[in-house]
């Protein structure tokens, strides 16, 4: 049996007395782009933080490319790139400085890092502002930089939290192309977004969260087919506009 790229088992997390992630379990095979959806407060960002080691979950386990995040944290962290919501950049550094920093933190050989840096800057049309401080860049330019930092060390898994934030049409298209290329090359993407038509177009599968639990986990085409007006938005709305957490029959994980 092939090791899943992302494997989550009974993940739970509490902030004080409030349990925001309640027993999540799912696994994503290599080569899949998976949409990670849910209304505000559903627990998406908390899960992504737990899957990237930014937060220690209250209980449960998660593994990236077979490496358990608790017991083999470093091996797991070598396998992924992450774009947090808001980008997570130092406003006083330049994009090129960020990329050099990330290359050193991920121990990418210097020459290779320089080559990839130039490639990615060109691909995202970011070379023109690569030597300007981040605090002088527009929101979209910052998001491009955050995305490039995630791709720089050629990770097998990508965790993207609202990656389309602020991107113009061309950059969004570049991102989609890169994600598809990444998946074709055997890479995996967990893609959290509120832009459901994009998810519908590029994701092979969608996991929908509501109140910290998975309420649907199925191929995107199947979800769309089951909806009233044949859109992901429609079934999403149907699943999350109820206080009762109940998955659609046949779709809950």
């Amino acid at each position: 049996m092939t090791t899943p790229a992302i494997d989550v088992k009974d993940l739970r997390h509490r902030y004080g007395s409030s349990e925001v992630v309640r027993g999540l379990s799912f696994s994503i095979p290599a080569g899949q782009i998976c949409g990670y959806l849910g209304p505000n407060g559903a627990g998406k960002s908390t899960t992504l933080k737990a899957l990237t080691g930014l937060l220690t979950p209250t209980s449960g386990s998660a593994a990236i490319m077979g490496h358990d995040l608790r017991t083999a944290t470093l091996a797991a962290q070598r396998c992924f790139g992450f774009v947090p919501d808001g980008g997570g950049l130092y406003s006083l550094l330049t994009p090129r400085e960020h990329l050099a920093l990330v290359a050193d933190l991920h121990d990418v050989p210097a020459g290779l890092a320089a080559e990839r840096t130039e490639q990615l800057l060109r691909r995202f049309e970011a070379a023109a502002f690569a030597d300007r401080r981040v605090d002088t860049l527009s929101k979209g330019q910052r998001q491009k930089v955050a995305l490039i930092t995630a791709f720089l060390h050629a990770p097998q898994v990508l965790f993207l939290d609202e990656p389309l934030n602020g991107l113009d049409v061309t950059a969004a298209r570049t991102l989609k192309e890169l994600l598809v290329e990444h998946a074709k090359g055997g890479g995996t993407v967990l893609f959290s977004s509120h832009i459901l038509d994009v998810v519908e177009r590029i994701c092979d599968r969608a996991i929908i969260l509501h109140q910290g639990q998975v309420v649907a986990d199925a191929p995107t085409t199947e979800l769309v087919a089951r909806s009233k007006d044949k859109t992901l938005e429609s079934i999403f709305h149907q699943l999350v506009t109820t206080d009762r957490v109940a998955g659609l029959e046949g779709f809950s994980a």
């Binding site: 130092y90 406003s91 330049t94 050099a100 920093l101 050193d104 990839r116 030597d131």
Partner: protein, 543 residues
């Protein structure tokens, strides 16, 4: 729009946010609750400093001079706190995003922010007044009226200082202020020098010159704001309430008038900010990194790994570009600079390798005070504006973040202390006509700094550098205790050197012991830092 209601709502929100910021650690569980919020530490320092000064002056000087000196101390303490970090209360560029589009008159916003700042100033005024009021009232030539009169004068001085600082920041604009922040920090260092000179004069001169000076101070002293108010306090203390009323009421009137002018200046500055006339990030800098790594050039020779290079690079760049971080750090250098300057100016910087006795105190003190500054310098790289960016480090596949922290600390110490070391060794070599002795003294100072670093790092840097939330008072408050510990450690060793005398052999022996002891000390510090970071990671990184 009901402006009274808007002002009340804004002020309430601002004060609530300030209080929550103080209790941030406890409220979020991001780290164990602190026994005392940072603001309390700042107030504690003010209480302690004013108590020491009052006790030193008590029964040695007349009531009016006692009041003048205490008001002067208030000026230095309140001015320092405002310049270092509390002015930020009144200047919040982020407000433009939240409030800029609201139908809010400029004056209402400026008044709310200024009142927000004055809440802190009020606390400072009370903290600096308690001991002088009580002890002043017990002076031979004063009575109970001294207490309330001093409190009023202290409020007037505090208001005036606050208004001048806010007015200067507002009048010259945020961009200009950013450029002159380092200069401001050096002005502060000069103020510390003056205070240091006064303090050491009080402590060292046992020949009654202080009493003589206080009995017959120069006439111009009474023409200064402190002199005029001090004279009023002295008169109130002597029961001459009618004569006291004029200077005190004029002082308060001037204080409040300056505050009103500051409010005007602040509303103008807010108008500029709101209109986007002065965007905080207008500066475009072109810096090219070659080769896809930060471990290039001389940096590579100073660090042991790529992770350490990353920390070093981050701190170096952010300290270059973040005027606020520099402003938080530079005042820590005030005491060593003062000791060196006073040693040179007053001919008290004797060569400890050939001289015995009191003449070497300031020579030994420079190294001790450089060590004492280390905790403040490390604190300056703990907090920053981009907390979220720490995820770059927390998600990196590094066995430990300790090298990152160590690299950042190296960069900070090198940036702030490096030039001072050069100045100190060159000055000592010139003064003592001995490069060898100056080099040895430099080695002594370096070893004290290294030990202070090993002592302070695990306690202050248990996080990715620049990732702590900026909490009002944090860069001046709790760190003072650790600074005192490092200074006490250095003073203990300096006392040994003082006792040993100018024997080069004995002093070299002491240096060798310090050097050898540094290796296990550094090893322990790295292990403790690593454990502290692991503990933080287990709690969920930056929370």
């Amino acid at each position: 729009m009901n402006q009274g209601r808007a002002l009340k709502a804004l002020l309430g929100a601002f004060l609530r946010m300030e209080l929550r910021n103080q209790a941030y650690a406890a409220a979020t569980g991001a780290k164990p609750a602190e026994a005392l919020p940072p603001l309390f530490w700042v107030l504690g320092q003010f209480l302690a400093t004013s108590m020491l000064t009052s006790l030193t002056l008590f029964l040695r000087v007349p009531a009016d001079f006692f009041a003048v000196a205490s008001l002067g101390l208030t000026t230095v303490l309140v001015g320092s706190a405002l310049v270092v970090e509390f002015h930020e209360v009144a200047f919040q560029p982020d407000d433009a995003l939240v409030l800029g589009h609201r139908p809010l008159p400029l004056g209402t916003y400026a008044r709310a922010r200024l009142l927000n700042l004055l809440a802190y100033v009020g606390l400072f005024a009370v903290a600096t007044a308690i001991f002088p009021s009580v002890l002043g009232a017990a002076l031979f030539d004063a009575g109970p009226h001294f207490a309330w009169a001093f409190l009023l004068a202290n409020v007037a001085v505090s208001l005036g200082v606050a208004a001048l600082v806010v007015g200067a920041f507002a009048a010259f604009g945020a961009g200009w202020m950013t450029r002159i922040r380092s200069l401001l920090a050096w002005v502060q260092i000069a103020a510390i020098l003056v205070a240091f000179y006064g303090a050491q004069m009080l402590l060292r001169k046992a020949d009654g010159s202080l009493e003589v000076f206080a009995q017959r101070p120069p006439d111009w002293l009474w023409l200064t704001p402190w002199g005029a108010l001090g004279a009023g306090v002295g008169k109130a203390g002597a029961g001459q309430l009618v004569q006291a009323a004029l200077p005190l009421s004029v002082g308060l009137l001037i204080g409040f008038s300056l505050v009103a002018l500051a409010a005007k200046a602040l509303s103008k500055s807010w108008a500029g900010l709101r209109a986007g006339a002065e965007p905080a990030a207008s500066h475009v800098e072109h810096v090219v990194i070659a080769g896809g790594t930060v471990r290039v050039g001389w940096v590579g020779r100073l660090v042991a790994s790529r992770a350490e290079a990353a920390g070093f690079f981050l701190a170096r760049r952010l300290l270059e570009r973040d005027g606020d971080a520099r402003l938080r750090a530079l005042p820590a250098l005030g005491l060593p600079v003062s000791a060196l300057a006073l040693g040179l100016l007053s001919d008290q910087l004797a060569d400890p390798f050939v001289t015995r006795g009191g003449g070497i105190v300031l020579s030994l003190s420079v190294g001790v005070l450089l060590g004492g500054a280390v905790p403040s310098l490390l604190t300056a790289i703990a907090a920053g504006k981009d907390e979220g960016a720490a995820s770059l480090f927390w998600t990196a596949p590094l066995p430990s973040l300790e090298p990152v922290v160590t690299g950042a600390a190296k960069a900070a110490l090198l940036r702030f202390l490096g030039p001072l070391f050069v100045v100190f060794v060159v000055a000592a070599a010139w003064w003592w006509r001995s490069v060898l002795h100056a080099g040895l003294e430099g080695a002594w100072a370096l070893l004290l700094v290294l030990h202070a670093w090993a002592l302070a790092q695990p306690k202050l840097l248990d996080r990715v550098p620049f990732s702590a939330r900026l909490v009002r008072g944090a860069s001046m408050g709790p760190v003072a205790l650790l600074g005192a510990v490092c200074t006490a450690f250095g003073m203990g060793l300096a006392a040994v050197r003082y006792a040993v005398g100018p024997s080069v052999g004995a002093q070299l022996g002491l240096l060798a012991v310090l050097a050898v002891a540094f290796l296990p000390h550094q090893h322990l510090a790295r292990r403790q830092t690593s454990q502290a970071l692991l503990l933080r990671r287990a709690r969920g990184g930056e929370g």
